[in-house]
């Protein structure tokens, strides 16, 4: 296994992705202005957006690991 290649392919490129995004992000003000005439996003309606309470406390019953396949 060539771990140097793996490090570059995963870590370096991943971090570069974030850097590129930060340097080319559009002006948030422009986005807001462009969207000002829009029709909203149903926030006052009856859509249940809190699907599965994903930001909440979790349900791991004390465990600290996500389910993952690691060759076993």
């Amino acid at each position: 296994m060539d771990t140097k290649k793996l490090f570059h392919a995963i870590v370096v490129i991943g971090m570069t992705t974030a850097a590129a995004c930060s340097s080319s992000s559009p002006d948030p003000g422009q986005d807001a202005a462009a969207d000002s005439g829009g029709g909203g996003n149903d926030s006052g309606g009856n859509k249940d957006v809190a699907v599965a309470d994903t930001g909440g406390g979790g349900n791991d019953a004390g465990g600290d690991g996500f389910v993952a396949w690691l060759g076993c």
Binding site: I10, V11, G14, M15, A18, D60, D64, F66, V67, A68
Partner: protein
């Protein structure tokens, strides 16, 4: 529920080409892909490897649910566009991985239809007492920077030793997605949504995140399921341990170092496990 591999493996819009085209670019369907390595196995061995792949199909769906939970937390707490694109894409990718795994299980069984995984409760770690944005980051680290990064190393080793064309094709296809899933974690750590204070606080958490997934795996000495069949992409326990430690020391820990997260205690944990 049974369905045909061809029906789910080549759905228009999901992928330009079905994964099994990596084994035979001219094949018209999954069933027509030739694999003499699988076909040469005795029935008992085929049943054993079918069981391994069927179990994996269920695990892949659960991994997808993990990504769904992570995506929800990131949307609520803050995330850059490329990361949420990768994380939400991972939900669908993992469903595709389940289809690949179930298809390979069917091939080992000699069935024309796949068995879709049974419903199962999926646990999402709470990482108490963390809350809010910090917990969201912990979940990204656990799933992407640790699990998916290590999975890339494991899959690379599986592909390197495997000789079955279909198994190699499936593992290569999964690996290509796992690289993106791992990148999402490192991209998030480098984003403005993980502060310098967060990074200082993350160092002491690494041991817990590593142990939560890896203690049971690295403490176990029994042979891995299917390890008697290296030509079928199955790693031995010894090789598995080597790959994990190598990936931790050469990829994961240097990644955390690059992100500005203290790995002193994490490296000590890894040394205890070697």
């Amino acid at each position: 529920m049974a369905t045909t591999p061809a029906a789910t493996g080549s759905s228009p819009g999901l992928a330009a080409k079905a994964w099994w085209h990596r084994a035979d670019a001219n094949a018209q369907s999954f069933a027509t892909v030739r694999d003499d390595v699988i076909d040469a196995l005795e029935p008992d061995a085929r049943a054993q490897l079918a069981s391994v792949w069927q179990k994996r199909a269920g695990l892949e769906l659960q991994v997808g649910i993990g990504f769904a939970a992570i995506a929800g937390g990131l949307v609520e707490e803050g995330v850059i566009q490329p990361v949420i694109e990768l994380v939400t894409g991972a939900v669908r990718d993992e469903v595709r991985h389940a289809e690949i795994s179930a298809s390979l299980a069917a091939r080992y069984r000699g069935d024309e239809t796949i068995d879709w995984p049974e419903p199962v409760k999926t646990m999402i770690p709470a990482f108490a007492p963390s809350t809010g944005r910090f917990r969201s980051t912990l979940r990204v680290i656990a799933q992407c920077c640790i699990n998916e990064t290590l999975a890339c190393a494991v899959l690379e080793a599986c592909v390197a030793q495997g000789k079955s064309p279909l198994v190699r094709a499936g593992q290569q296809s999964i690996l290509s997605d796992e690289i993106d899933h791992a990148r999402a974690g490192w991209a998030h750590l480098a984003s403005p949504f993980v502060s310098a204070d967060d990074k200082r606080a993350l160092g002491p958490w690494l041991r817990r995140l590593l142990a939560g997934k890896l203690d049971a795996l690295l403490d176990e000495a029994a042979p891995l399921p299917g390890e008697a069949y290296p030509d079928h992409g199955m790693l031995s326990r010894e090789t598995f341990d080597e790959v994990i430690h190598s990936a931790l020391n050469d990829v994961v820990f240097p990644g955390f170092d690059a992100a500005g997260i203290d790995t002193t205690d994490a490296r000590a944990w890894a040394k205890e496990k070697s």
